[in-house]
C-alpha cells in the first residue's frame, strides 16, 4: 500500500479552489528588451529562415516598419535566465506559485507533467519593445484518474504586456499535478482469472480438473458423450449420467488470438481455441507453448494443466510432441 493517506482533508478542496483567480507571478519585466541578437539566436536554433526576423528591408517589403520577433518567442523574453535556475532558493516569503505547489504536495500531487499550451497573439513584437508577464490561476480541476496517476489539471493564464501595459499575447498553460501510480512490485501475483460459475450440472467437471482429470459427461441411457454437459440427454431424455476420462489428445478446431480488451489475468495477445478431443466432443481452452503465428487449424495438441492460478485448475492444451523418426 502507498504510505500516503489519500483521504481528503477537511477544507482541502476549499483551500485549493481558493487559488482560482489568484496571482501566481506578479508582473515581471523581461531582463532584456526585444533585440536583434536574441532573435537571430532563436531563428538559427529553430532553423527559421524567414527574412522578416533578421532583414529590415525584407520586413518593410511585407508592410512592417522593421524586423519583428517570432511570435512564439514571447515566452523566451520573460524567462528568468540561467543564473536564477542555479541560484539557491530565495529566503524571502514564498510567492503564490510556491504556495500552490506546497498545497498540491500536501494533497500528494508531487509529480508534474506539462500537458498543453495555447497562445493567442495580439500583435507582433518589434526590436525595442519591452515585455512583461503576469500569471494567474484560471482553474484547478477536480481529481482525475489518468494513465500516469490520479491528479489535478492546473490551468494558468500568462498575460504578456508591452511597456504601455497593452496586452501583446496570452498563454493558457496546463499542467497535470499527480500522484505517481505505484509501480507493480515485480513479484506481485497476477490478477485471478474469471472464476467459473459452478452449479450442480457442471461441478463434476471442475472437481475433476482439481484432480487433473479431464472428464466428459456420458449418458448412461444411450452412452452418448456430451460437452458442455447438462442434466438431460437430448438423444434419449435420460436424466442419468456418469463420466469418462478423456485421453487428452485432440486437434485444434478453431482459435482466436485475443488482443483487446486487456484483462489483468491474461498477457495479450493470448490464444483461445476450440479443441476437438479424440473422443469427439469439443471444448473451449487455451493453447500454451506455441506462438500465435504457429497455430494452425487441425494441428494435434495434448492436454496440459494450468496451475498458475491455484483455484481452479483448468485444462489447457499444448502442441503434441512430434514422433522421433
Amino acid at each position: 500500500m502507498s504510505g500516503h493517506d489519500e483521504r481528503p482533508r477537511p477544507g482541502y478542496e476549499e483551500r485549493l479552489q481558493g487559488f482560482t483567480g489568484r496571482e501566481l507571478r506578479p508582473l515581471t519585466r523581461a531582463q532584456d528588451p526585444v533585440n536583434q541578437p536574441m532573435i537571430r539566436h532563436w531563428t538559427e536554433a529553430m532553423g527559421d529562415t524567414n527574412p522578416v526576423y533578421t532583414d529590415a528591408a525584407a520586413a518593410r517589403a511585407t508592410g512592417r516598419t522593421g524586423v519583428v520577433a517570432p511570435a512564439s518567442m514571447v515566452q523566451a523574453w520573460t524567462m528568468r535566465g540561467y543564473a536564477a535556475t542555479v541560484a539557491p532558493p530565495s529566503p524571502s516569503a514564498p510567492g503564490g506559485f510556491d504556495a500552490l505547489v506546497a498545497l498540491l504536495d500536501e494533497g500528494g500531487y508531487t509529480s508534474v507533467v506539462a500537458t498543453d499550451s495555447a497562445f493567442t497573439f495580439l500583435r507582433e513584437l518589434e526590436t525595442g519593445d519591452h515585455v512583461a508577464v503576469r500569471e494567474t490561476v484560471e482553474s484547478v480541476s477536480a481529481e482525475k484518474r489518468t494513465a500516469l496517476g490520479t491528479g489535478r489539471f492546473v490551468t494558468t493564464l500568462k498575460t504578456y504586456t508591452d511597456r504601455h501595459g497593452a496586452t501583446v499575447a496570452t498563454q493558457r498553460w496546463r499542467t497535470l499535478r499527480f500522484r505517481p501510480a505505484p509501480a507493480a512490485p515485480p513479484d506481485a501475483a497476477p490478477a485471478p482469472r474469471p472464476r467459473p460459475a459452478v452449479n450442480r450440472d457442471n461441478a463434476f467437471f471442475f472437481e475433476g480438473a482439481e484432480r487433473r482429470r479431464l472428464l466428459i459427461q456420458r449418458c448412461t441411457g444411450c452412452q452418448t458423450l456430451r460437452h458442455p454437459p447438462g442434466p438431460c440427454c437430448p438423444g434419449c431424455n435420460s436424466l442419468e449420467w456418469d463420466t469418462v476420462e478423456a485421453s487428452g489428445e485432440g486437434r485444434v478446431y478453431s482459435f482466436v488470438v485475443s488482443h483487446h480488451p486487456r484483462h489483468p489475468a491474461f498477457t495479450s495477445p493470448y490464444l483461445v481455441a476450440v479443441v476437438e478431443l479424440a473422443e469427439g466432443t469439443r471444448l473451449v481452452t487455451n493453447l500454451t507453448g506455441v506462438a500465435p503465428d504457429d497455430v494452425t487449424i487441425g494441428m494435434p495438441v495434448v492436454l496440459d494443466w494450468l496451475t498458475a492460478d491455484p483455484d481452479p485448475t483448468l485444462p489447457v492444451f499444448r502442441p503434441a510432441p512430434t514422433e522421433a523418426p
Binding site: 482469472r193 474469471p194 472464476r195 467459473p196 460459475a197 459452478v198 452449479n199 450442480r200 450440472d201 457442471n202 471442475f206 460437452h227 458442455p228 447438462g230 442434466p231 438431460c232 440427454c233 437430448p234 438423444g235 431424455n237 436424466l239 478446431y253 478453431s254 482459435f255 482466436v256 488470438v257 485475443s258 488482443h259 483487446h260 480488451p261 484483462h263 489475468a265 491474461f266 495477445p269 493470448y270 483461445v272 476450440v274 466432443t281 469439443r282 471444448l283 473451449v284 481452452t285 487455451n286 500465435p292 487449424i297 481452479p312 483448468l314 489447457v316
Partner: protein
C-alpha cells in the same frame, strides 16, 4: 381489423416435478423434468415442440431447455415480464403463436428452487446469487479469457476462413460498404467518414481474425416502431411498410454466441430457419428481395447470413460481396443506413427503421427498387427476421 384466436388453441398436456422445500437438483433439471412430463401427458415428444414461452424471471433460458431435451429447432420463443403476473400471459403468447401458424406445439414452463435457492421472501437482504444455467454456461469460456462478443465471433470467423479460403479482406469489404453508406447519412455517427479497404487492413487487431474496423460501434440511443393493422396504416400519414413475414429461429444445439459444438460452425442454422419461414409465409424467394438490412455487430457473420438466406451458395459470399452486389446498383443493396458499424448500434432496431424508410422510398441511399426488404436480427444467438414490403 380485429383478429381473434378465441377457440383456436387448447392446452393438451400438463406436467410437473414433485413440490418440495429442497429439490436437491439444478433448476435446469427441474425445468427439463416438468417439460418432459407435460409432453408425455400430451402424447408428444420434444422433437414435436417448435415453441417455448416462459417468464422474464425464469433462469432456465429456452436454449438450455431445448438443447437438453433435444427439441431441435424452434420457430417461436417469447417471454412475459412482471414476476408472477406473467403466468396466463405465457398461455396467451402460445395461443397467438398457434392461432397464427407461427408454431404448432408450444410449451409454457417455469421452474426454480425458490425455497432452497434464491428466496423471494427475503426481500433485498444480502444473499448469494444462485448459479443459474445461463451463468454456469459462461464457465466454459470466461476462465479461458473468451468473454467478449468479438472473441466469440472470432472463433467462428477463423473456421469460416479456413473452410472456404476466404481472407480478412472479405470481412473488410463489408465494413467498407457499411461506412460508404453511412457517409451519406446525416444521422450516422460516421457521416462523411468513409473508409478504404486499406484502412481496414491498417486497423488494429481486436481478436484475430477480427480487426477494430470489423466491430460495430457502441451507441447511446433509442429506437421505437409502431405496428398497427395494414388497413389502419393506410389511413395514417406514411405509406405502410407491410409486414410480409416475421419469424424467429432457435437452432439445434444452440448456445449464446458460442455454438461451437455443432457438426459444422461455418453456417448460422438458426438464420436458415428464419429465412425458410420468411419465404414460406410471404410466398417470396431470395430473387424477390430488393434490398437487405443484415445484422452487422461484426462483419464476419454477414457472410454466412447471405448464404443461409439463399442470396448465394455456402462459401460464395466472399465472391458475392467482392463483385459489388451489396452496393447501390448491385444485386442486393445492403445496410443503406450504414449498418451498426456506420450508423449506430441499437441492437438492430435502427435497421428495421431503415427497412421502413426503404419501403417508403425515403432512405438517404435509396435504390431504384425497394418493394421487398429483408431485415435480420442478431447472429450467434436465437434470432429473428422480417420481410417488409410496399403496399401494392
Amino acid at each position: 381489423m380485429r383478429g381473434t384466436f378465441a377457440g383456436t388453441a387448447a392446452v393438451a398436456g400438463i406436467g410437473a416435478t414433485e413440490f418440495s422445500k429442497d429439490s436437491g437438483r439444478s433448476e435446469l433439471r427441474l425445468a427439463c423434468e416438468a417439460v418432459l412430463a407435460a409432453l408425455a401427458d400430451a402424447g408428444l415428444t420434444p422433437a414435436d415442440v417448435d415453441g417455448l414461452v416462459t417468464f422474464t424471471a425464469e433462469t432456465n433460458s429456452e436454449i438450455h431447455v431445448a438443447r437438453n431435451t433435444g427439441m431441435g429447432e424452434l420457430t417461436f420463443f417469447s417471454r412475459v415480464g412482471y414476476g408472477g403476473g406473467a403466468g396466463c400471459g405465457t398461455v396467451q403468447q402460445a395461443a397467438m403463436a398457434v392461432a397464427t401458424g407461427v408454431a404448432d406445439v408450444v410449451v409454457c414452463y417455469r421452474a426454480f428452487n425458490e425455497r432452497s435457492g434464491e428466496r423471494y421472501g427475503l426481500g433485498q437482504a444480502a444473499r448469494p446469487m444462485d448459479t443459474t444455467a445461463d451463468r454456469a454456461a459462461y464457465a466454459w469460456t470466461t476462465p479461458f479469457g473468451l468473454s467478449t462478443p468479438a472473441q466469440w465471433v472470432a472463433m467462428f470467423a477463423r473456421r469460416y476462413l479456413h473452410e472456404y479460403g476466404a481472407t480478412t479482406d472479405d470481412f473488410g469489404r463489408v465494413a467498407v460498404v457499411d461506412r460508404k453508406h453511412a457517409a451519406n447519412n446525416p444521422a450516422a455517427w460516421f457521416h462523411g467518414r468513409p473508409i478504404t479497404l486499406q484502412d481496414h487492413r491498417d486497423s488494429r487487431w481486436i481478436a484475430e481474425p477480427l480487426r477494430l474496423l470489423d466491430c460495430c460501434q457502441e451507441t447511446d440511443g433509442g429506437q421505437a416502431l409502431v405496428i398497427v393493422s395494414a388497413e389502419r396504416a393506410r389511413d395514417l400519414p406514411h405509406p405502410p411498410a407491410v409486414i410480409r413475414s416475421a419469424a424467429q429461429g432457435l437452432g439445434a444445439d444452440q448456445h449464446m454466441m458460442t455454438s461451437y459444438y455443432r457438426p459444422t460452425i461455418t453456417g448460422i442454422p438458426e438464420m436458415g430457419l428464419v429465412g425458410r419461414q420468411l419465404y414460406g409465409q410471404s410466398g417470396l424467394g431470395p430473387d424477390d428481395i430488393d434490398a437487405a438490412v443484415l445484422y452487422d455487430h461484426f462483419t464476419p457473420l454477414v457472410l454466412p447470413q447471405l448464404e443461409e438466406l439463399g442470396f448465394c451458395a455456402p462459401g460464395e459470399a466472399k465472391d458475392f460481396i467482392a463483385d459489388g452486389h451489396l452496393e447501390l446498383g448491385g444485386r442486393l443493396p445492403f445496410n443503406t443506413h450504414g449498418g451498426q458499424l456506420g450508423e449506430a448500434y441499437l441492437h438492430g432496431m435502427n435497421g428495421i427503421a431503415e427497412a421502413v424508410r426503404l419501403v417508403r422510398g425515403t432512405s438517404v441511399n435509396q435504390p431504384d427498387t425497394a418493394d421487398h426488404v429483408l431485415v435480420t436480427a442478431g447472429t450467434g444467438v436465437p434470432t429473428s427476421g422480417l420481410i417488409l414490403g410496399a403496399d401494392r
